[in-house]
């Protein structure tokens, strides 16, 4: 595995004196047991990913970013985008959002309709699919273009104007979209969806299809390590709201494995079925790791292992 210290295409990112050796050590260790897990198979573009791919980036809160392996390789962000739409909507409507989506762990597989039914169409949290649909629906109502608002934000924070939707992936999601359609119609039957379901689904599938690299995502996540401040110094979230998003990530960010992730990694994190995971060290830095092989709960095997090693080797943890 080739370890790249710094990409020349980014403005000067000198290798961090602290974390770079750690990243290199992790990459070496991960490289010794490559290809664990299986890529998501319901979308052809994801199924075709080589499970041996691995990349990891760290972004300091001052914007310095460095990494190893495939850290500049764009991949399908999928559910990682749920963090950004949550923040973008929360910035606009504040606590009113929590009347439409909860913030408790789900205790059930990520697509479950059961709790939704028992709790009258209010999804348990913004990171299960039902909750993310509600957040996108509300952002759509407030902006008229939820996916476009998200893309503009990611481009601005990452400094990468080339980020875009992958139309093929969005189309694949739509083709296999019956379960999300069921969730949206079901919540609509409780009055918890504003937009027509086809409009909502299009926005939702587009946002899931955005491609970005570990470097891009680590930078885009930095506002959560900066207590709400964006890359340009403007404030997206209040300090309290940033803390709250981190709390929801820690308790709900990794599907039905949130407790296990907190136990092993001990950082707020959010995974996607594209194999990416972002994590936050509040006040210090953000991380993004990518490797397409997933465990049975939908989290990247090498990704969780790398984050586990990172917190063990550095002692960085919220606990």
């Amino acid at each position: 595995m080739v370890i790249m210290a710094v990409s020349s295409s980014y403005p000067p990112y000198p290798p961090s004196p602290t974390f770079q050796p750690v990243l290199e050590r992790i990459a070496t260790e991960i490289g010794q047991t490559p290809g664990r897990g299986r890529p998501a198979d319901y979308i052809p573009a994801l199924a075709a990913c080589d499970p041996r791919r691995f990349g990891m980036a760290v972004a300091e809160i001052d914007g310095t970013v460095y990494g190893v392996g495939d850290w500049r390789q764009p991949f399908s962000t999928q559910s990682i985008t749920k963090v950004f739409t949550l923040a973008l909507d929360l910035a606009r409507e504040g606590d009113e959002l929590w009347e439409h989506v909860g913030r408790e762990p789900s205790g059930n597989p990520f697509n479950s309709l059961v709790q939704l039914e028992y709790e009258n169409g209010i999804p348990r949290n913004p990171f299960i699919n039902a909750g993310a649909l509600v957040v996108t629906d509300r952002l759509q109502t407030r902006t008229g273009d939820a996916a476009g608002t998200l893309l503009a934000f990611l481009r601005a924070e990452s400094g990468n104007a080339e980020l875009t939707f992958d139309k093929e992936v969005a189309a694949s999601e739509a083709t296999h979209g019956d379960r999300n359609a069921a969730l949206a119609h079901f919540m609509a039957s409780y009055g918890n969806i504003d937009n027509p379901v086809p409009v909502l689904l299009e926005q939702y599938f587009r946002q899931c299809s955005i491609e970005a690299s570990c470097a891009d995502l680590a930078l885009a996540t930095s506002f959560l390590a900066r207590h709400g401040l964006r890359a340009d110094g403007s404030r997206l979230l209040t300090q309290s709201q940033a803390k709250q998003v981190n709390a929801v990530m820690l308790t709900c960010g990794t599907y039905d494995a949130a407790g296990d992730f907190a136990y092993r990694v001990g950082l707020p994190g959010k995974s996607g079925v594209g194999g990416g995971i972002i994590a936050v060290v509040p006040g210090r830095c953000t991380l993004c790791v990518w490797s397409p092989g997933l465990d049975e709960r939908g989290n990247s095997v090498a990704g969780v292992a790398a984050l586990d090693r990172f917190t063990t080797l550095t002692g960085v943890s919220v606990f």
Copy 2:
């Protein structure tokens, strides 16, 4: 409300220059809206508590402890003891414990039998009643006296040799113990309980009946802020295990409100229906707050509010 700076009955605890004014401010604020919530009503000794009582203590990791209000008043620890039996058992058997109890949030009210049935008698985490019964059962098998082992630990860590069981409360628990008996028999039907159910229940009810004050519990919790080290400098848990217990507290420590607690307070915590809550600031200090009035999810109203104010006023948070 009278604010007591330091009790003279403890060896010299000078008021902390940092936290004492914060505690006093919180006590004043809480005193302005006294008596919110309702004491637990299923046990006469708890139902008789005056919901206007309020106490709060902070223990620095060096053993310094200070507080306000009723911080030296013993109260019924109830589910707070689940943290200590978890640590005591984990210290003895390590990861083998996790084959018998999970570490994921339950997503259901704390007594629910539903998930227990779907998951073949393996409770979701050690802080729901079913999980705590499993932990006590295993500690009983390893020690022959789970409740006694717990009491000895609490006495040693708090420096308070007078801590003891409240036999009346234990008897009340037994009288209203049908639900816990159901849980224990149900898990026994899956082979996940070793001891005879009556033996287990007696140990469990005794451990819940221990009385201790905020000062006692803040001190007894300090090993979790000290990354596993006990008051006498000996090691109870490895650094990794201490971090793991904190993670389980954050994701599962406050019944069905763990997400909300993480969102508002942002610290690992554990509540009990006696009205107490303990919390950990890893590497820094521990807190214990007590006020008997509970919200509908079983957590102290004034207790959660006080911890919320503490983290807001001090900026202390894991996020």
Copy 3:
């Protein structure tokens, strides 16, 4: 309440010497406590129904039909049509149908998604909405026009060529169709729906919108009392299949009240939220009763009471 012995618009139906006095007595009794229950309120056309309306018809297996009250007044058949689509599909594909829908009571409210999820998209029986969607989907695949096939059958069996769809009701159903859309998409995600969901839903809402009277429906149901023979003597179902449809009606025909209906009425029956209920006395006759006021489980209050009285007064019962 005016009791009409025989409508002159039908070919000669002499009043039955046996049942007519019973019907009249029931109508008198029901008339003494008019207007119990509430009409379904989610469809304007149903909500506008006067809950004091009441009609009841009996059809002998020789085609003789008589009745009381509003027995010739068309009303919205709604879920009663599920019996006929079941028979029409079963006649075409036989036992293969049972690989796609079960025949066990649901033990849950009629729209529940819970069991559907636990049982991998196979609905429990053909009379819950999910199961009826599967049956309509399969009939649509086999006929290209499920609703039209149903209407033709009802016209032929009732001898009433004027039976038709109520377009306004069908449009209202579509407007409030999110829950059925959710069910259809959810089952489609398990591969248990053949047709595009919008096509299926249109067929489904059309079939629910058919208007027919007690006389029409009692006659149309007669094939189940004739062990499978249609009005013209041709065979729709084998004797065994007719018995099976009756069995499914008895165990699953009245939403979550099937046990109660069997206990009180003791006949195979099927209700609809339009306030109608059909019932079968195998080998003897069929009944249809209509009154728009529903109980909290969606069954006509006066309708169940009338059938209860009928079986009590006549001693007719399968038990």
Copy 4:
């Protein structure tokens, strides 16, 4: 397989001119595919049963009984006794019983705790274990000896004074009784159990342990075909109550397979894990079949097949 026409140890039971050839034909057919299914394995005495055993008896309402195969061989009645305790308690307290147990199918495996929790400790029907525990508890309160009352009734109706408990089976049940203990304690926590749980369980396990033959049970069930009249002509149940018990048997009598049983057999029936099944042809006769091999839902494979054949060959069915 030896077919025994009539046992000489009973007072004169001349072979019925109608049913005996049918029974013999069924026995021959069943004998061609012997030993299907597996005996219940949690109780040694049941596990040791030879799955090739088969017996079947019919009792006319005049007390004439005849049979084939092992129809005079005593076997463990198990859940079949739930029918008799239901009738004995209903005779004593009438409709008040239904405030403590429902009469709707459960839609879940027979030991499920889920619906019990959702419905506040009121079991769905008297034939799931939870419901049977409630019925036994209430009969115990009214008689002081529920199991003894049951045994006396079975002896009187069967004319067999030698019927008795199998102490070894009762002891085995108690050894594997954790699940029933969990159910009882769980309902006690809702206030739906009167007697101390250990007392209730002893009564319950004793009643399940009664041994009786097909002949005994067919005779003991006859009151349900006689619309409530006992063998001596006295009335146990009103005509309406007898009809109601039959309705509950049809909708709830065969665990999670009630719909399938109604569909295939079309008679009120009740099975037990000992391999027995009783069935009622109201106004005509009763049946009991026994063969120890069970299907995955706990019903005798050969037993259901034999009843299916019986109704097919004779045309006897409630539908």
